[in-house]
Amino acid sequence: MPVREVRKRYLALKVEGNTPGDGRELEEIILRALLDLFGQDGASRADLKLIEYDGEKGIGIVRCSHKHMGLVRAAIASVVEHDGKPIAIHVVDVSGTLRALRKRLPSRAS
């Protein structure tokens, strides 16, 4: 079976506290944390991309490089404030495919 050159990981996120209104804001928060912790080099290697985000439920999915998932997870865990108000972003599930993650998400995010 052919193996993809660059493998990806999909992370399901649950946001608590000062929840960002839209996906772009969430992506920006994570990207800023990545930059703070690992600089431009780390942030570029992480290859972060927001797939979807439901601002009302505070649930989202981001994609990152499989090899650098540790950087992304550390950056996500390090977010404690957004606009001066407390926020927590938890990784509730991880998967190699979006389909499997979406299937499991309702039970994991509750």
């Binding site: 997870r73 390090s78 977010v79 404690v80 404030e81 927590a88 938890h90 990784v91």
Partner: protein, 243 residues
């Protein structure tokens, strides 16, 4: 499956309801055991009530007291008074004198240091002293991310060197959230990923959140048991038929 422990939840609680809510949140996050620094004046009945609530929630609660003495006599007095009442004792070392005494004393479980790098006295001498006693180096992760960027960078660099030193001298490292409010609590694996920032391998970080603190808890509980005499010796039976 690994059992995880957060041995320093620094969240305060006013009543049983708040305490229960904290525990429920910790259990939901995947912790098996937690510890919250308590008031040294709490009576045995109140301590056992807290443990009761924790077991209702399905968590193992370790009683803990944090000391912040200013000098050697103050530390020794507090240790004499409190050691038999609490399962864990953490000492916040605010000066070198206290740091050295705490590292040498077998009654101390956790060595804690302030967040300012210049006030962290975990150097080679401290590590050597700590390696001969039972104490572990405690690292609270979440307060680091409340610091301004420059202070955080300096602290992370200092913590990296402390972790390396602890490894060289065989001093156990215990990773805790140090969460000051429930929103700062993180899942065990999230804490482990954060701990990799300190150059700990992921598996070592998981150990610092599970095996190490749980082994310390087991050891301390055995010591506090009335049948304990010395390491490896305990009273099995009392009575006239025992020669």
């Amino acid at each position: 499956m690994r059992k995880f422990a957060d041995m320093h939840l620094a969240c305060s609680f006013r009543d049983e309801g708040e305490f229960r809510a904290l525990l429920e949140r910790a259990r939901k996050m995947g912790f098996h055991a937690i510890s919250i620094p308590l008031d040294p004046g709490l009576r045995a009945r109140e301590l056992s009530r807290l443990k009761e609530i924790a077991s209702e929630v399905g968590l193992d609660f370790a009683t803990r007291v944090d000391l912040a003495p200013e000098n050697r006599p103050e530390l020794l007095r507090a240790l004499r008074r409190l050691r038999r009442r609490f399962e864990f004792i953490g000492v916040l070392c605010q000066n070198k004198e206290v740091a050295r005494v705490a590292a040498r004393d077998r009654r101390v479980d956790f060595l804690m240091f302030p967040l300012e790098p210049k006030k962290r006295y975990f150097d080679r001498s401290e590590a050597e002293l700590a390696s001969g006693s039972n104490c572990a180096l405690e690292i609270d992760l979440m307060p680091i991310f409340k610091l301004p960027l420059e202070a955080r960078i300096r602290l992370l660099a200092k913590l990296r060197s402390e972790v390396a030193l602890a490894g060289r001298y065989g001093v156990p490292v215990v990773i805790c959230s140090g969460a000051l409010e429930p929103m700062m609590m993180r899942r065990p694996r999230e804490l482990a990923y954060l701990a990799t920032l300190l150059d700990l391998g992921f598996e070592d970080a998981l150990d610092a959140l599970s095996k190490t603190p749980l082994a310390m808890l087991e050891r301390n509980r055995a010591k506090l048991d009335p049948s304990f005499v010395a390491p490896g010796i305990r009273v099995v039976r009392r009575g006239r038929d025992c020669p």
